[in-house]
Amino acid sequence: MYLVRPAEFADLPDLERLAQQAGIGITNFPANRDRLNDKIAASQRALHTDVVQPGGESYLFVLVDTSNQRVVGACGIDSMVGVDTPFYSYRIDDVVHASPQLQIHNRIPALFLCHDYSGMSRLISLVVEKAHQNPVAMSLLSRARLLFIARHPDRFTQKLFVELRGESDRHGYSPFWDALGKHFFSMDFKKADYLSGVSNKHFIAELMPRYPIYVPTLPQEAQDVIGVVHEDSENTADILLAEGFEFRGYVDIFDAGPTVEARVRDLRTITEQRSGKALIHPDTQSEALHLIAAGHLEDFRVTAAPAEPQVAGLAIDHSTQERLHVKSGSRIQWVAL
């Protein structure tokens, strides 16, 4: 079985191993021990602080294989991006050029550098070990964050967004980067990708194009990957789209991977979640898997288990009860998987 809980310092070695497997294109999860340690520290700090509105806190969660207590996945939430330095994206906007005289009506897509997502909460870096990339684990890890948000709405903004990894091959070659970013950064994709994970991002403001880039003037292979999700992230993308996240024409400035967004209140997990008491039935008959969450902040835990919604609450079995550290009658949240 799986459990999602906030990351702890003891998880560091496991997280480092995960990050090494993740590879290029996951800028928020760099294989750098210090940075990972900082991320855990930041998350712990956020969980122990009395927060009344989002202000740049970041939360890191881990997916635990309860059979051996190993960390096999991680994900996070930034309560607000763009607090210190603006958060950059390209907005794809059509520039309309029409000549009635020539009966030409051209809609020319162009990339506009913008910080439209500055000030918004972001779901980040869903990473799961290959062997555990099954639908239950993936869905649990992804949606557990939304249950956390539902439980602590004041800590996040009303809208959320997620960046999906764009096309690049295993050597880190990105056709989009090669056609565009390279000219402005004078470095390779790997390095820019790494820097944007570890540096203060000033360099983006300093080096990025100030004027819109007309898409048709880019080489065809670069045009072809704009807004396209990396093969490895297709599962993640499917889960998010099923949740109600939508692509609104924003892409990553490095690899042109799409950004998807949604209002918290429109998300399937949020609208369908119920809360009530934990009812302990040793022999719960139901086969219907549920995501079940309990606890606040540092004690927040989510698992996926068979359960039976009843009028008084949710019927769960003993092992689920133990995983969640709840007693009979404890307040829990749940949603069908």
Binding site: H97, Q101, L195
Partner: protein, 347 residues
């Protein structure tokens, strides 16, 4: 004798014959009788204005006549101002720098920005000489005669003047810059765009061209290379203007990337060094050796310009032969403007 004079109503057939020989990419002279007729009428009207205090919409068109063969063999022009009747577009080749001290990166990005910066500026335009006459400095006479007109009548032109140079295209008229840039925005062929422009219809440029700067480094190499370069056949014309003081000021043609050269009228060598002299009709010492000079009269409607040779530099007076005086359409003691045909010829 080869004489420059204003075009007249009688020159339509000759002008049409010349226009038919110009070929693709020569948008200022197309073989279309009504258009050429209108051009001639505008020129005749412009030359007929004896008093003018400032440049307006005048266009001056001159022809080069071989008086012995009674043949019009070349044409050149001046526009008092461009851009008022129809917008005048160029790309400005600018730069944007980005530097990151933290990373030690310093990038300079050249950019092309659409503009109408030459609006209201005078233009040196329309130069064509018949193939058979491309010898004996006829090309220089044709091109530089205009500078004596500028020197004599500066109030008819703006302080700055420019010339557009034909850009690079291959034997089929395919322009690398157009293929990489313009085509995406126009959805029409280069030749069609060229044709529309020559018909004086330019609104579509504003409607279709990109209004934001285009990063040159994102264009393919074959397009980058031709920005600011002239067509091979135009290289001599470019050198000639540069010797006279014209300079590339980072403006290029929006279709083929050909350079625009500009200069302040008073800085043109042939203007700055030209001077007035009183003509004495008589027997000049030698007229077939020594330095070649351009000589023009000081009339508008009856403007004339010829080349002469003298072995001693003329001073405040200039002895002209009967034939020369006749070609210049002047009497004894009339003022003429004179300058060495080429720079450094007086050193």
């Amino acid at each position: 004798m080869m004489v420059i004079r204003p075009i007249t109503q009688n020159d339509l057939a000759a002008l049409y014959r010349l226009a038919a020989k110009t070929g693709v990419g020569f948008t200022s002279l197309v073989a279309d009788e009504p258009i050429l007729q209108r051009k001639i009428e505008a020129a005749v009207r412009s030359f007929s204005l004896e008093e003018l205090n400032q440049p307006g919409e005048e266009s001056y068109l001159f022809v080069l006549e071989d008086t012995e063969a009674d043949n019009i063999v070349g044409v050149c022009g001046l526009l008092a101002t461009v851009g008022y009747d129809e917008p005048f577009y160029s790309y400005h080749l600018g730069m944007v720098t980005h530097s990151s001290r933290e990373l030690g990166v310093h990038n300079v990005h050249p950019t092309l920005t659409l503009n109408n910066d030459y609006t209201g500026c005078s233009e040196v335009c329309t130069l064509f000489l018949e193939e058979d006459y491309r010898h004996s400095r006829n090309g220089q006479l044709l091109s530089k005669s205009r500078f004596l007109f500028l020197a004599q009548f500066p109030e008819r032109f703006t302080e700055k003047i420019f010339a557009e140079m034909r850009g690079v295209s291959d034997e089929n008229g395919v322009s690398p810059l157009w293929e990489s840039l313009g085509r995406h925005f126009f959805s029409i062929d280069f030749s069609r765009a060229d044709e529309l422009t020559s018909l004086g219809s330019k609104q579509f440029i504003a409607e279709l061209m990109p209004h934001n700067p285009v990063y040159v480094n994102l264009l393919p190499p074959e397009a980058r290379e031709v920005i600011g370069k002239v067509h091979k056949s135009t290289e001599p014309a470019r050198r000639l203007l540069e010797q006279e003081g014209f300079r590339f000021a980072d403006y290029v043609d929006i279709f083929d990337g050909g350079p625009t050269l500009e200069v302040f009228v008073q800085d043109i060598r042939a203007v700055r060094e030209s001077r007035l002299a009183l003509a004495t009709v008589g027997q000049p010492k030698a007229t077939d050796s020594g330095t070649t000079y351009l000589v023009a009269n000081s009339k508008v409607q009856d403007f004339r310009c010829i080349m002469i040779q003298r072995s001693t530099p003329p001073g405040s007076s200039l002895v002209l032969s009967d034939e020369e005086a006749k070609a210049l359409n002047i009497q004894n003691r009339e003022p003429v403007r004179i300058v060495e045909l080429s720079p450094y010829s007086n050193r």
